[in-house]
Symmetry: C2
Subunit: 463 residues, 2 copies
């Protein structure tokens, strides 16, 4: 193919791959969907990205910038014949300024590597998606990733001071948070549909003076909802409010026995970040709220114990693979005071569709993650999952919820955009997108539906 040969000449043959094995690795992400890319390139310098975009744009080939490939929302699925730019070799920290608390990094750096480096300077990188050991800053920016701690510290866009981007014509721009209009904010969360990020200036936060946790168990999930609401209303310095359902607790106990409560309908991990002298009072207040709601609680202080709890929560994915061959993880946001009602509704829906659901949620933000587990080899199983997913989507929207809390709008939800946005709003999205990428070659079928796509029924219908 001519454009691939041109790409090989421009980037060097060692950076361009077309073997079936290499292509298969980048045809999937962490969703159940897959695509069929034609070529994979590994840029090592911004100039490689510029050249690749020029060549692909000229040939009218779709381009998907790929980070860790951990999208649960099919945000990294390449269309047929696409060029995938994998950023694994562009992972440098160009500068870390501990006094200004900033880091200028390349998009292939993993979230965890950045945080680990920051901690050597008494700092941290706040957004912490569960996939942080493999997910990359570039993908975090594309999806505006959140994480366990976004209750206190916000999502990725709150920590991106500026981005260097390459446009489809190969030109380069620096988009700064201080600019007006703030085009940086537009690029963060745009699923790679506007431009390709080649560097980002990120803000780092000081490590908190003191942290502590209260791990709570409740016989009824309503109690967990009540406690979460009380904590937020009381203005307590909660940095995480993690809800874990009964089934999920069972899964976690397989990998990390004894760390989280058992024999309860719901657990809540409450973390506080505060000053040394205020920690005890904050934890005691939370314990009192838990007791008042009829729950049980255990205090965890000391970094080893707290790390053990977070690791148990984060590494639950591994246990899943053992227990359930396949799963489909959803991501919605609902108003905080509707969460309990929605979670009860999700249980009713999955029961009616004869599928099993396990749910974690960031209660403080109203962000719920029902994960439907199934065995894809069983005839009709995937179809039942899709039907249940569509019913959950309807339930969420009926309760004033939004399509995505933190995973973004990938291929799986493109058809649902018309449920949340009016035709005028979708026209604006399309016009803005076209102002960056007139031919629509950057990560097609994500974030911004083509005219008509949003009216398609059966959102979760791609196979």
């Amino acid at each position: 193919v001519a454009w691939i040969e041109e790409l090989r000449a421009a980037l060097g043959p060692e950076r361009v791959r077309t073997d079936a094995g290499d292509l298969r690795a980048v045809s999937r992400d962490a969703s159940p969907l897959h695509g069929a890319p034609a070529c994979l390139a590994y840029p090592e310098e911004r100039e490689h990205v510029e050249r690749a975009l020029q060549i692909a744009a000229e040939a009218g080939v779709a381009i998907v910038a790929r980070g860790g490939g951990t999208s649960l929302a099919a945000g990294a699925i390449p269309p047929a014949g696409a060029l995938v730019l994998a950023f694994n070799r562009m992972a440098r920290v160009r500068e870390l300024d501990a006094e200004e608390r900033t880091a200028l990094v390349e998009p292939g750096l993993t979230n965890f590597a950045l945080d680990a480096l920051a901690r050597r300077h008494g700092l941290r990188y706040a957004p912490d998606p569960s996939s942080r050991r493999v997910s990359m800053i570039g993908g975090n920016i594309a999806t505006n990733a959140g994480g366990l701690h976004c209750l206190a510290h916000g999502v990725t866009t709150d920590h991106v001071l500026g981005v260097e981007v390459v446009l489809t014509d190969g030109s380069v721009a620096w988009l700064d948070a201080l600019d007006a209009p703030d085009m940086r904010a537009l690029v963060v969360g745009s699923e790679g549909t506007l431009a390709v990020v080649t560097a980002a200036l990120l803000s780092l936060l000081p490590v908190p003076e003191a942290t502590g946790m209260v791990v709570c168990g409740f016989s009824r999930l309503e109690q967990a909802g009540e406690v979460a609401e009380s904590i937020v209303r009381a203005g307590l310095p909660a940095s995480a409010l993690e809800y874990i359902d009964e089934t999920m607790l069972g899964v976690i106990s397989k990998m990390s026995p004894g760390v989280l409560p058992s024999g309860v309908e719901a657990a809540l991990i409450v973390e506080v970040e505060t000053l040394h002298e205020s920690l005890d009072e904050a934890l005691a207040t939370i314990e009192a709220l838990v007791a008042e709601a009829g729950g049980s609680s255990r205090r965890a202080v000391g970094s080893a114990e707290q790390t053990r709890i977070w690791e148990a929560r984060r590494t639950s994915g591994g246990a899943f693979g053992l227990l359930f061959p396949d799963s489909y993880t959803h991501d919605f946001a609902v108003p905080r005071d509707r969460i309990v009602e929605v979670l009860r509704g999700v249980s009713a829906i999955t029961e009616a569709h004869r599928v099993e659901v396990v749910t974690v949620a960031h209660l403080g933000d109203g962000n719920i993650h029902p994960k439907i587990v199934y065995d894809g080899r069983e005839a009709g199983a995937y179809e039942r999952v899709i039907d249940a997913s569509n019913a959950i989507l309807e339930l969420v929207l009926a309760h004033g919820g939004t399509l995505s809390g933190e995973h973004g709008i990938g291929l799986e939800k493109l058809g649902a955009m018309g449920r949340q946005f009016s035709p005028a709003e979708l026209d604006m999205l399309r016009a803005v997108r076209a102002s960056f990428d007139p031919e629509g070659i950057l990560n097609p079928d994500k974030a911004v539906p083509l005219a008509g796509d949003e009216a398609r029924r059966g959102v979760f219908a791609h196979a």
Copy 2:
């Protein structure tokens, strides 16, 4: 004029004005520039805005949405023949939800009125420009206004959860902070060039448990810079770090004698927000840092005393009118570690151009406001102000600063955009703007320069 008659019919004659007196009132803002609008309309409902935009767009007439008219950057100056939409009659609080800590308000509400209402519920609206008693939420959004407290709480965009906008075709959209791409972030700070905001959902913060101040005096401004840097580096809970120069202290002492230090080169107002039990320690640490740098300090606790200090700082404008017939207030941001150097440079420049400068600055954010005072009746005075302003702009850019800290890019700085942005970046800005407003009729000559405008020399050259 046909379009004005059509507007009168659509909105009702009581909402449309063309008298010279009415037009004169909206031909100026708080900058030295002025325009010549053809018509003034007072929308009372969103439908009035929709109709006005349709009628003006059809007639190809420029539209300037006007808030309190307090722009110091000529952001509200209407072009000749424009329609000004003044939002004074659209100032309702549609809903205040104290539990969710949100307020849905109309753009004509003043910043102060919103804050006062929030305080009845134990809450506050954090952005607090000095003009807050008259500046409106709509204008705050257009300029992404900051304020004395943006060190701790960020600027307007950090508090806008969503906006209802009307586009030039009269269509309505809700842009939400949770959307991806986040077009809300694009509209905030766009100087009214993309759409007209008709409602905003704002987040309110709890009133802090405890606040206190240390008012410091320094014989040399380097000491003030050193203390500010130490406070930020130590991670102290400073919510404001206000620098006031010697001349300004003299002005303030005319209105509010004895409130701030006298006989010093620089004063610093340091405010902390924290928990009751941590307040004393935080203030003592700041006092120690001040003493170490060779400054003097006075602690202020109790809300009456703290209010007295902020009022002295905020109401300095009144004293100006008495002492100096005219002034031109600038707004730049520079890296924090370059502030002292830049302030010394500003003094040298103004001295060389035989104009007088008084400066306040938000040191924590690197946001400086040199205010050049002059008598416009004196021949050649305004020209010297403009020359000095251009030299200050060069100085700021040479030190890695940006064109605006918080006042935005109004008419005065349009010609400077090419100094900060590359041609590719300006093309992006223009393309995005065109995707909202293809004819460029919304607040022309603000934020986004037409092709070529950015190359114009003599930025501060409009009269």
